[in-house]
Structure formats: structure tokens, C-alpha cells
């Protein structure tokens, strides 16, 4: 039901000329109420960077007063008047449009005789949702997409009967209403600048599990929240109020996670969750915010198709694995291929083969009519064997994403080239492969905004490095999955040496990684573009191999890497580099690190070593 503009105008006129009068002794009460935290939360008023307080909702439909976006008191007065009107048709009254505000004002003004108006549309909708409790849903980062470390959050509205299907429960999702015709660059730009409106939607949870579990291969963490049924009812009422309205949407602050917290804030006076987020809201931090205020009652793990495939593959013999792969890759008769296996092994091989076929179609984009037909034939063969595979589900990881190190990092370093130096390092987000591993995907890295200031023993201070973006994904091959390892980084930095000027750079690399000696061995083809007037012709384009070994564990991280970059265009100097790094965990939020780097540029060689202390906060 859309609250049409004409009705809204009529309502405004009614308000201006209505006989409903507000007693003068209410004035001070109303002023206090308008400043009440809960009224501010219900209307999404927030202190903005320019020092003004106004609502983050951009739609006229969200307010009863023409200046309601900026004037909490005018909006409150308008609401009290509108909620007092009694002669509207069913579903047309302001009470039906803003049931959460109405409920709250009714409680606050208990001597004001409001008369409940019938709202059959809302009642039907709320009954269909049948929310009894809320669960925060957090799709974990997935293996080969470091950007997903930022994650997403949504809220599932669970029914009272614990046996009812979670897939059929409705979930509340806040997302940028992106234009599907925009390419990724436009998309990123608009997302960063608030070019897309953010909208709340309500959809069955299966829509999301199909996306995350089966298409994106992301594990999902579900956090039941301990809100009372009355608070859950108020949450549902408030969601209804956001219908057909738009909020600002920015990647880094007013994103999905921030808005969900704001919706929970609006549902209960016990919550003030958005207070902590002024500049950035990383989804995993929202879980911590809920946890800090005592709203998280547990955590449930939902394994992705990839995790299930890995877990199942560990439960069978090599022979079964081999057969399962041949089942997909050959066109031979399925029953003949299965002959050598026992009845139970046949079922296991068929289930593994289906998972492998889906992996090829979804992740390797090998979708073809032949593969599709083969997948159906494999399932058909599975259906003809009505016994159970006996596969145990994937085990819950020891640590969740929200139990990893904190999002921000500060570091203090001391080191030496031809001179000694001290570094101050600050990184707003998020994780690199040398950071503490607990709670993160091994081999994944995403950093933004890392800034480093260097003070030399000769008393000058310089910007040493500014990382705009630095993504590295060293996903390793396993029996079924052959992900591409890749990396992209860009920003400004200096070569080793006190006299090196800043230069702009962009590095792009693709390759493979394999498990070896407890760590992973990786080989990438990397191309680098360097831009600065210190470089002949102003730029250099290089292309060459980058290879190394990375070891990550709870206590210790180690990395050795070599990078050979012969010139392709521009400046013709050859550049090579080798580095070795070691990280030692001190506490759950701090680490000691040592690094050594050697660079060759044509005839010159430079060394640098440094020791640093990293603190996460």
C-alpha cells in the first residue's frame, strides 16, 4: 500500500486547520519528547558532519510535517495531531502509516486519549511475517573475494515455533538501490558518494541463502538477538514505516550495517547502537556493537556449498574423490563409472560430483548445456539410490569473523637503511596477510587508507606511503577447487632509501597458489605502472613474475617473496625486489613484526630493515 501524495497533502491541510488542539501545558512536554533519544531514533535524526541534526531519510513520505526532516518538534506536534484524527477510512490514517511512532507516543502521552484506528493492511502484513524474535545475519567473508571481508548484514524475523523453516522466515535487508546497467567503476563511485538511494526491503530468507550459500560460497553466521516480543513488534512496526522511502547510502558509514543498527535503535529504548559509528561502519563491528550492549544471545553457523564440499571430501577415500571428479568430467555411463564402489560410496561420489559440477558452473563459469545435462543425470542417479550418504555436516570454525582482531590498526616502527628512521603507521581498515590470523580467511588481504609517516634521524619527516587500496587473494587449489590467486594495489609510496621521492603506483597480478610445508606457495604474473617525474618519460610499465611462500598461524606469520620486474614501456630501468617478513602474536590485539627488504634498480642496491609493534583497536 502506497500512501499517496494526495492523501498526504490532505493530511497536512487537515493538520493545519483541524480542530484538534494541543493544550498549552503540553508544550514543554512536547519539547522534551522531541529531544528524547527514542523520538530521534524513530525519525533517524542524526548529528551530521556539518554540526546539524537532521533525519537521514530523504523521502517526504517519511514525515508528517513539511519540515519534519529538520525539525523534530514540528514533526512531533504534527504526529500528535495526525494520530488524533478519527474519521479516516481504514488504512488511511496516519496511525496506519506510522504505527511505531504512534505506539511510542501513546506510551509517552498516556493521559492523551488516542483512539486506535483500524489498519487491516498492516495487520495482515504483520501476521504474515509473524515475527517473534530477531536474528542478525552476517555472511562471512568468502574465500576468493577479499572485498567481501567487509561483508553485509541483514536481520531475520523468526517465528515462534522453533521447528518452522528458517528459509521461509522473512528478512529485512537494507541496500543501495543500484542501477544494474552501471558498470563497476560507476557503481563504486556512486556508492562512495551516496549516489544511490538506500532502501529497506523485506524478503524471504531463502532469497539470501541461495545467494550466499550456493552462489557466492560464503559461510553465514546467524546471531540470535535477545529482544523481547514487545520490542520485536515495535521493530516490525518501524520497518513498515520505511516502506517506499529512501535513505542516503554510503559504502563506509551509512551502509547496510549502520542502517540495521538504526532500525534496532528505533525499536527499543535499550539500544543506542549507532552512537559509536561516526565515520565508518564495518559490518563485523556492528556485531561487536550489539554484543557490547548485551543483545547477542549466541551464534549459529551455516556452511556454504564450498565448505560442505570440503568437509564431505575429507570424509571419503581418494578413490571416491577420483570417481566423483571423473563423473563430472567424462561422458561415460554413470552406472559403469560407479561399479567399483560400494552402495554407500556410490551415493557419496554422486553427491560430491554434484557439488563439483555446481562449483564449475558457478565459480568457473563453465556453464554449458552439456554440464547442465550431466548434473541432472548425476542427481537422477543419486535419486535412484535411496540410502543416506552419511556425510557429517561441515564443522563450525573455531573462531568467527567477529572474534578476529579489531578493524583499525596503529603501528610504531624503528628501522634502518643508510640512515635510521622511526615510522608512525595508521590503517583505518582492515587486514593484511601478516596480521593476526584468528577469525580471518587465510591468504586474504584488503587494506584501505593505510598511511605512514617516517621521521629520519636527520630530522626530516615525510609521508612514506599512502595506500588507497590493496587487495590480495592467495586462495589455494584443492582437490576440486582451482581458484585464481590475484592482487590489486594502488597508491603512493617511495623506493627504499632516504632520498627517494614519492611516486604513484598501480599493481595488478594474477596467478595460482598451492598448499606447501604448512603454508602456501604462490606464483603470480604481476604488472606494475609507476608514475612520477623522477622516472624517465614520467612513467614506467613493467611485467614479470612475483613468487613467494606465506605461512600463517595463530601465533606466527612468515612471508618470503621475490618480484622481478623488467620494463615493458617508459623508463627502461630493471627493478627487482626480495623481502622477508615475520610476525609474532603478543596479545589478541597486538603483534610484533620484523621486515627486511632488498631492492635493485639497474646498478643500485638498497636494503631496509625494520621492527614494529602493531596495535589493533
Amino acid at each position: 500500500m502506497k500512501w499517496s501524495v494526495s492523501i498526504r497533502q490532505a493530511m497536512v491541510l487537515l493538520l493545519l486547520y483541524s480542530g484538534v488542539c494541543v493544550a498549552s501545558n503540553d508544550a514543554s512536554t512536547f519539547e522534551a519528547l522531541a529531544q528524547h533519544k527514542q523520538w530521534q531514533h524513530l525519525l533517524h535524526y542524526r548529528l551530521h558532519w556539518n554540526g546539524e541534526v537532521y533525519s537521514q531519510n530523504d523521502s517526504d513520505e517519511f514525515f508528517l510535517h513539511p519540515t519534519g526532516k529538520y525539525d523534530a518538534l514540528a514533526e512531533l506536534n504534527a504526529a500528535v495531531r495526525a494520530f488524533s484524527i478519527t474519521d479516516m477510512a481504514d488504512d488511511e490514517s496516519a496511525q496506519c502509516r506510522f504505527p511505531a511512532r504512534y505506539e511510542w507516543l501513546k506510551q509517552q502521552l498516556n493521559d492523551h486519549a488516542f483512539i486506535d484506528q483500524p489498519c487491516p493492511d498492516f495487520d495482515r502484513w504483520a501476521k504474515e511475517i509473524a515475527a517473534h524474535s530477531l536474528t542478525l545475519i552476517f555472511p562471512a567473508s568468502h574465500i576468493n573475494s577479499p572485498s567481501s571481508m567487509y561483508g553485509h548484514t541483514l536481520v531475520r524475523m523468526d517465528r515462534e515455533d522453533p521447528a518452522s523453516s528458517k528459509l521461509l522466515a522473512y528478512s529485512v535487508n537494507f541496500a543501495a538501490n543500484a542501477d544494474p546497467t552501471d558498470n563497476e567503476l560507476v557503481f563504486s563511485y556512486k556508492g562512495l558518494t551516496g549516489g544511490y538511494p538506500g532502501v529497506v526491503s523485506v524478503l524471504p530468507y531463502y532469497v539470501k541463502t541461495n545467494e550466499y550459500q550456493h552462489m557466492e560460497y560464503r559461510d553465514v553466521w546467524e546471531y540470535p538477538l535477545n529482544l523481547s516480543p514487545a520490542e520485536v513488534d515495535q521493530f516490525v512496526r518501524h520497518i513498515w514505516e520505511t516502506q517506499d522511502t529512501e535513505f542516503d547510502y554510503f559504502f563506509f558509514d551509512e551502509n547496510c550495517s549502520y542502517r540495521l543498527l538504526a532500525l534496532i535503535d528505533a525499536a527499543t529504548e535499550r539500544a543506542d547502537l549507532t552512537d559509536d559509528f561516526f565515520l565508518t561502519a564495518v559490518p563485523v563491528d556492528t556485531i561487536r556493537a550489539l554484543d557490547d550492549q548485551g543483545f547477542v544471545a549466541g551464534a549459529v553457523y551455516r556452511a556454504s556449498a564450498a565448505s560442505q564440499l570440503n568437509a564431505a571430501s575429507d570424509q571419503v577415500s581418494k578413490q571416491v574423490r577420483e570417481v566423483s571428479r571423473v563423473l563430472v568430467e567424462s561422458d561415460d555411463d554413470i552406472d559403469t563409472l560407479l561399479q567399483s564402489l560400494s552402495a554407500k560410496q556410490q551415493v557419496q561420489a554422486l553427491e560430491l560430483s554434484h557439488a563439483y559440477a555446481r562449483y564449475l558452473a558457478v565459480k568457473k563459469k563453465k556453464a554449458s548445456p552439456e554440464l547442465r545435462r550431466r548434473t541432472l543425470a548425476l542427481l537422477s542417479a543419486r535419486a535412484k539410490r535411496p540410502i543416506e550418504s552419511g556425510f557429517q555436516p561441515a564443522a563450525q570454525p573455531g573462531l568467527r569473523d567477529d572474534q578476529g582482531h579489531q578493524t583499525r590498526r596503529f603501528a610504531l616502527a624503528a628501522g634502518q637503511t643508510e640512515h635510521g628512521f622511526v615510522d608512525l603507521h595508521w590503517r583505518p581498515a582492515y587486514h593484511d596477510v601478516m596480521d593476526l590470523l584468528d577469525g580471518f580467511v587465510p591468504g586474504s588481504q584488503i587494506q584501505m587508507g593505510a598511511t605512514e609517516l617516517r621521521a629520519w634521524d636527520t630530522d626530516d619527516i615525510r609521508l612514506q606511503r599512502l595506500t588507497v587500496i590493496d587487495v590480495l587473494s592467495l586462495s589455494q587449489r584443492d582437490f576440486y577447487q582451482r581458484p585464481t590467486a590475484w592482487g590489486v594495489s594502488g597508491g603512493a609510496k617511495r623506493f627504499v632509501g632516504r632520498e627517494s621521492p614519492l611516486h604513484g603506483y598501480l599493481h595488478v597480478a594474477f596467478g595460482q597458489a598451492v598448499g606447501l610445508a604448512g603454508g602456501r606457495l604462490y606464483g603470480l604474473a604481476e604488472t606494475q605502472l609507476l608514475v612520477d617525474n623522477q622516472i624517465e618519460e614520467g612513467y614506467q610499465l613493467t611485467l614479470g613474475p612475483r613468487a613467494g611462500w606465506l605461512y600463517q598461524s595463530h601465533l606466527l606469520n612468515a612471508n618470503i617473496e621475490g618480484n622481478w620486474q623488467p620494463s615493458v614501456a617508459g623508463d627502461n630501468r630493471e627493478r627487482h625486489e626480495v623481502l622477508a617478513r615475520l610476525g609474532l602474536r603478543l596479545t589478541s590485539q597486538s603483534q610484533l613484526r620484523a621486515e627486511w627488504i632488498r631492492q635493485w634498480q639497474q646498478e643500485t642496491t638498497n636494503n631496509e630493515w625494520r621492527v614494529s609493534w602493531q596495535q589493533y583497536f
Binding site: 502484513w125 504474515e128 568468502h142 573475494s145 572485498s147 567481501s148 567487509y150 561483508g151 553485509h152 521447528a163 523453516s165 528458517k166 528459509l167 521461509l168 522473512y170 535487508n173 541496500a175 543501495a176 538501490n177 543500484a178 544494474p180 563497476e184 557503481f187 563504486s188 556508492g191 526491503s201 523485506v202 524478503l203 524471504p204 531463502y206 541461495n210 550456493h214 552462489m215 557466492e216 547510502y249 559504502f251 551502509n255 547496510c256 550495517s257 564495518v282 554422486l350 553427491e351 554434484h354 555446481r358 558452473a361 558457478v362 563459469k365 556453464a367 548445456p369 547442465r372 545435462r373 548434473t375 541432472l376 542427481l379 537422477s380 535419486a383 535412484k384 535411496p386 543416506e388 550418504s389
Partner: protein
């Protein structure tokens, strides 16, 4: 409109023709199993933004996405199958699973009958899921299979 191959049941054809006049996107019966996945946005949309596009919905109806007039368990069953073909195919082959349990719940299958329901779906796999199957034909095959069972025919009215 997807062309139906010769040999597809006439009932299916008629149900799909009816679906043509139904509300857009609601149990159209045209979803196939394992369609090609398009992943252009995988890395970008997986980030914070998680952009939605076009399928804004407020769950305004009876448990179906974008479905304005779906009423009763049959329309919901069809809509659920439309949205979950891939997962249903796997669960049907295994004779159990979360998505199959959800389908049973949508159809109102009682706990006492769920084992029989699972068995029936598994043994009728080839009728429900084949290269030319759509959610429309799968729905018809499912109701036909249930109607054949003394124990389960009560669920197809």
C-alpha cells in the same frame, strides 16, 4: 516465453498459459533448474554495498517474492519452487534437506507425513527435474505424484 517441448504434459502447458495472465513474477512457472549464473558483480557487490536492483519487495503478500495476488498454499508452493529450483533438485535427489522441508511446510505437510513426502519426491525425481523442466512442469509433476499416494493426496486438495 519458454517453448515447451513436445511431450510436456498438456496440463503444464495450460497452467503456464494461465500464469501468463497472473501477476508479474509470481509463480510464473518459467524458472529452469541450473540456469547459467551471471557473476559480473561478484567482487564488488559482495562488499558493503550489496546493491539490490529491481527486486524491491516488502514481502507484502503471502510468502512470495514480487507476488501481488498469491493466495493459498498452491500459489505459494509454485512461487517457492520458482525461486528454489536448484536447491530443490539436490534435496529431491537426496530425499531430504532444508529446502525440501521448507517446501513441505509451505504445502502444509504434517510431521507424520514428512518421510513419505520425501520418499515420494525422491522416487519421482525424473518427472520433476529434467533438462526441459520448468518450475511449472515440476509443480504439476509434484502434485500428480502426491495425488497418486493414499497418504499424501490430502495435500493437493
Amino acid at each position: 516465453m519458454k517453448k515447451l517441448i513436445a511431450g510436456a504434459a498438456l496440463v503444464a502447458a495450460s497452467s503456464m498459459a494461465m500464469a501468463d495472465h497472473g501477476p508479474a513474477g509470481c509463480g510464473l512457472g518459467t524458472a529452469v533448474v541450473f540456469p547459467d549464473a551471471n557473476e559480473w558483480h561478484e567482487h564488488v557487490l559482495a562488499a558493503t554495498t550489496n546493491g539490490t536492483s529491481g527486486n524491491q519487495t516488502f514481502g507484502m503478500t503471502s510468502g512470495t517474492l514480487n507476488c501481488q495476488d498469491a493466495n493459498g498454499p498452491m500459489a505459494q508452493t509454485q512461487a517457492f519452487m520458482e525461486d528454489n529450483m536448484d536447491q530443490l533438485a539436490l534435496d529431491a535427489a537426496k530425499g531430504q534437506g532444508e529446502t525440501l522441508a521448507a517446501l513441505a511446510e509451505v504445502m502444509g505437510v504434517e510431521a507424520a507425513d514428512s518421510a513419505a513426502f520425501n520418499r515420494t519426491v525422491q522416487s519421482n525425481f525424473d518427472n520433476l527435474f529434467h533438462a526441459d523442466a520448468t518450475s511449472g512442469t515440476a509443480y504439476e509433476a509434484l502434485t500428480a505424484a502426491l495425488a497418486d499416494s493414499e497418504q499424501l493426496k490430502k495435500y493437493v486438495g
